[in-house]
């Protein structure tokens, strides 16, 4: 294990511990790897830079388009 991996696993362990979710030390490495993969998968989203989008106040934004010609 290199230093970066060790740091990552420590960070993962701290996150889970702060959430009150116990994870045996032998399983932290697997979760840390999944966390790295998930973060990599989100890079495309981060690259889009959301700075100029309007903040969303509701998940259900779709309610704004309720009406159509079937009424």
């Amino acid at each position: 294990m290199n230093d970066n991996q060790s740091d990552q696993e420590t960070a993962t362990s701290v996150l889970l511990s702060s959430a009150g979710i116990p994870v045996p030390a032998t399983e932290i490495g697997k979760i840390a790897q999944m966390q790295r993969n998930a973060a990599n998968a989100r890079l495309a989203l981060r690259a889009m830079r959301l700075l100029e989008t309007e903040p969303v106040t509701s998940f259900a934004a779709q309610y704004s388009e309720v009406e159509d010609d079937h009424e």
Partner: protein, 468 residues
């Protein structure tokens, strides 16, 4: 009519026989239970079979019909995924954690089925807590068309039961494609209604900002009937929408000529296997013969579907299961436990960014639906995977769940109604599904077009040959 012919009637046809007094609910129900007994040992479509209470309910339905009652589903045998609460009946969510869970009340949609006179055959198998992986205590539902393949998830039990003629219809839930994906793999119809259109009260959540409830059936008309029964506002579901619409069955046979259909070309290419591509393109050509106006459409940000939906599912699921994860971690399957732990590591800013980016995707679809009545692309880019396979083909590194959610997750993020239709078969005899997406709360248009398509193709009349 032999047992198989009886079992593969559509719900509409079975109901007509009941209405004409040519068959009883007891006969229909006994035939289904006999088939479940014969076939489900291999399929694993059911977690709980309610043989005794179903026959009692069927006898009661026959008596009520003799007294002149005529509810929409009176005496029709159906099944529900094992995440819908059923009063006095075990509801496991496909999980060891809830192995002994017996709710005291029905989910709203289960109550609506009962009110409509349906006979509940049983509770269908599913991925553990609808989260992409089966728990070993229950095993994975096999595909009736190819037993070495999955029925899909997470509503695989509902899909397999309907495809195999073990129920005339079933309910499922859909957070990233869990109705439409197994419907596609099993060659049946699966409808994910608009977000808020069908109550989730009494339904175990996976991710509440994405969860939907809907029917799986052998025909579009059957889906229309079940949808009309379960749709409607429910004060007990905080996301329930107060929207009034005419029953979809009232416009099901209206003309489709002139409907504007947008073909999402990118989704015919993204991860799409050649055998699926060919079947889907043939289906589009068939639609063109129905007089609809077909035109290509480009939707923005389709590459972001998986990166946006995954952190939302992961974080919301981890929140829901947080305390069980603390108290009983070893009662989860390894895969679900790992994914829930992963969800607990999602940072708030990543969850919120995903919800903000969701708006981009919604705006793109909503804009397209100002120019088109319906959007269209293959439900899934692949056929039903071999059991326990995690990549889309041997040697590939693409994760099956990411590929699947990248196709079906779009309508979960936007909330638009979407239906998967049987669109044909590959040369290997595996079903392929075609997905239609409609405007908010306009389930009627996608069902109407679906009905016209299935009438022209009859793919929904193909059934798997099962051996006990």
């Amino acid at each position: 009519m032999n047992s198989s012919d009886l079992a593969f009637l559509t719900l509409v046809e079975a109901r007509s026989l009941l209405e004409r007094g040519e068959i009883s609910s007891v006969e229909l129900t006994r035939n289904e239970i006999d088939r479940i007994t014969a076939f489900d040992g291999r399929l694993k479509a059911f977690i709980t079979v309610l043989a005794e209470s179903a026959l009692e309910a069927a006898a009661a339905a026959d008596a009520r019909r003799r007294q002149g009652e005529r509810q929409a589903l009176l005496g029709v045998p159906v099944a529900v995924k094992d995440l819908f609460n059923t009063a006095g009946i075990r509801t496991t969510g496909g999980a060891r954690v809830l192995a002994d869970n017996v709710p005291t009340t029905d989910a709203t949609v289960v109550r609506k089925l009962h009110d409509a006179g349906a006979v509940l055959l049983g509770k269908t198998n599913m991925m553990e807590f609808a989260y992409g992986y089966p728990h070993p205590d229950f095993g994975e539902t096999r595909n009736p068309w190819a037993l070495e393949r999955t029925a899909g998830g997470s509503s695989g039990g509902s899909a397999a039961a309907v495809a195999a003629g073990l129920a005339y219809g079933a309910l499922g839930s859909d957070t990233g494609g869990s109705i439409r994906s197994p419907a596609s793999y099993c060659g049946i119809v699966g409808l994910k209604p608009s977000y808020g259109r069908v109550s989730r009260h009494g339904v175990l959540p996976l991710a509440w900002s994405l969860d939907h409830v809907g029917p799986l059936t052998r025909s579009v008309a059957d889906a229309s009937i079940l949808f009309d029964v379960i749709a409607g506002f429910d004060v007990n579901d905080p996301a329930s929408a107060q929207v009034e619409r005419a029953p979809t069955s009232s416009s099901l046979d209206h003309a489709v000529a002139g409907l504007r259909v947008g073909i999402v070309d990118e989704m015919f290419e993204r991860f799409v296997r050649p055998e699926v591509h060919d079947v889907a393109r043939e289906a589009v050509a068939k639609l063109g013969q129905l007089g609809v106006h077909l035109e290509s459409v480009t939707l923005p940000h389709l590459d972001l579907i998986a990166p946006v939906i995954n952190p939302i599912v992961q974080a919301e699921a981890a929140s829901y299961h947080r305390h069980t994860l603390e108290d009983r971690p070893n009662d989860f399957s390894d895969e679900v436990r790992d994914n829930l732990r992963l969800g607990a590591t999602i940072l708030a800013i990543d969850y919120l960014d995903a919800q903000r980016a969701r708006r981009w995707i919604l705006d793109g679809v909503a804009d397209a639906l100002t120019r088109f009545d319906v959007l269209l692309y293959p439900t899934q880019p692949i056929v039903a995977p071999i059991l326990d396979s995690y990549s889309i083909q041997p040697g590939a590194t693409d994760d099956v769940l990411d590929v699947e959610i990248g196709h079906t997750g779009l309508a979960n993020l936007t909330g638009h109604p979407a239906v998967s239709l049987p669109a044909g078969f590959t040369v290997d005899g595996l079903p392929v599904g075609l997905q239609l997406i409609g405007r908010m709360f306009d389930e009627a248009s996608i069902l109407r077009l679906g009905r016209a398509f299935e009438s022209a193709t009859n793919w929904h009349r193909h059934h798997p040959a099962l051996e006990p």
